[in-house]
Amino acid sequence: MATEALSNGTTRAPDAVVGDETLVDALASTDPAIALLALQTASNQARTADAREGVEEQTRLIEELREQMKSAMKRAEEAQESSGFWGDLGNVLGGDVASICGVIATAAAIVASGGAAAPMVLALVTAGMSVTADVGGRLGLDPKICMGLAGAGALVGVLGGNFRSATGFWSTLARVGNASQGVAAAGGSGATLVAGQYQGDALDARADAKHAEGQEADAWMRMQLALDILQDAARDLDRAERTVSNIESDKSAGHSAIIAHMGGAS
């Protein structure tokens, strides 16, 4: 009976636990093989209990680390997007806007100084703005911008016609242009600085994701080791059970042989 109970206990899933009473009965058995099997079962139960706890703990850890990794990846993506936005803004401010301001300031300075080339510069600026507004409109540029450019071109043309009397305006425009160029360059630098900070954040988040990934792989390995222990325990029990079964079978065969021998002798 004890053998049967133990067999039921050992052939169940590796995490099945043989009842304490059954185990005590088996350990007290007069049959050494049964007692040995019971001992092995008891030893395995202690070993597998730790392994089962390990598996559960590592499973929880894997879930947590997976969440951490997802969160870090999301942070990296957001930081990268922000970095891209601020980088573009920095390029536009520090590049295009600052250059345009510089050109305007230079042109205004030439006009304000009454240089010989002033009428030509004004004519070119006027023509440039008008053509840009026209071409921009055909290419699908925002109509408001086109309208603004056309209006500015017309204003420059009107002022250009009376540029001698509007010297003060051109001087102011030159100064404003210079100041705007500086402000745009500074703004571009600031935006680039912010973009760099976001880029650093993105790298940090990627490093965090990598860390979580490594920890997750480690947890997987620990779980695998714990599962190996459970598997080994199940295999050991299986072997022990087979061995005891063989011993019992041998005993039975021995008894049969002795009886057969006695029958032959009589």
Binding site: G94, S113, A185, L193, A195, G196, G200, A207, R239
Partner: protein, 178 residues
């Protein structure tokens, strides 16, 4: 562990094989753990290098940004101090030229203090990643070898059991027939 007692040379040989397999399995387990430790150390180094790269990127952005902003401000001030239509001279000229120079230097300074060290750190991270991958491969190989050894042990035990069983049956048959 393999306390198989038998006078049969085959069984004794099997016992020796099992002991050798057990030793190999233990060695594989040690190798597996050592490889995993090495992998984790390499991953830590990679993560540290990536954080270092992030830090250097920020430093580079700050240095480049401050240089460009200071240069832009100086150039704008110099330009503002210069009368319209005149060449910048004196303090205004110095401010304008130094501001422009600083603006020009902002990019290289940013690369020197940011991009270059950051790329160095990223290269270190890549190297550590490679080491981690190597350690991971060693670990996988140890695991495969370990599984194979266990499988061989199972086969050896099954064969030994079969031999012992045959021996026992033969003995009982002899006794019955005496």
């Amino acid at each position: 562990m393999n306390d198989i007692g038998s006078s049969d040379p085959m069984v004794q040989l099997a016992a020796l094989m099992l002991e050798a397999d057990e030793l190999r399995a233990k060695t594989d387990e040690d190798e597996l753990r050592a490889a995993q430790r090495a992998r984790m150390q390499a991953l830590d180094a990679e993560v540290h290098a990536l954080h270092e790269a992030a830090h250097q990127t920020r430093v580079g952005a700050v240095v480049g940004g401050i240089a460009a902003a200071a240069g832009g401000a100086a150039a704008a001030l110099g330009s503002g101090l210069t009368p319209v239509g005149k060449q910048p001279t004196g303090d205004a000229g110095v401010l304008l030229k130094s501001g422009e120079a600083l603006e020009q230097l902002a990019g290289p300074l940013g690369r020197l203090f940011g991009d270059a060290p950051s790329l160095d750190a990223q290269a270190d991270a890549k190297q550590a990643e490679q080491q981690a991958a190597d350690a991971g491969t060693r670990r996988d190989l140890a695991q495969q070898h370990h599984d194979r050894v266990r499988s061989e042990q199972d086969r050896t035990i099954a064969t030994t059991e079969s031999i012992i069983e045959s021996e026992a049956q033969g003995n009982w048959a002899l006794i019955a027939n005496v």
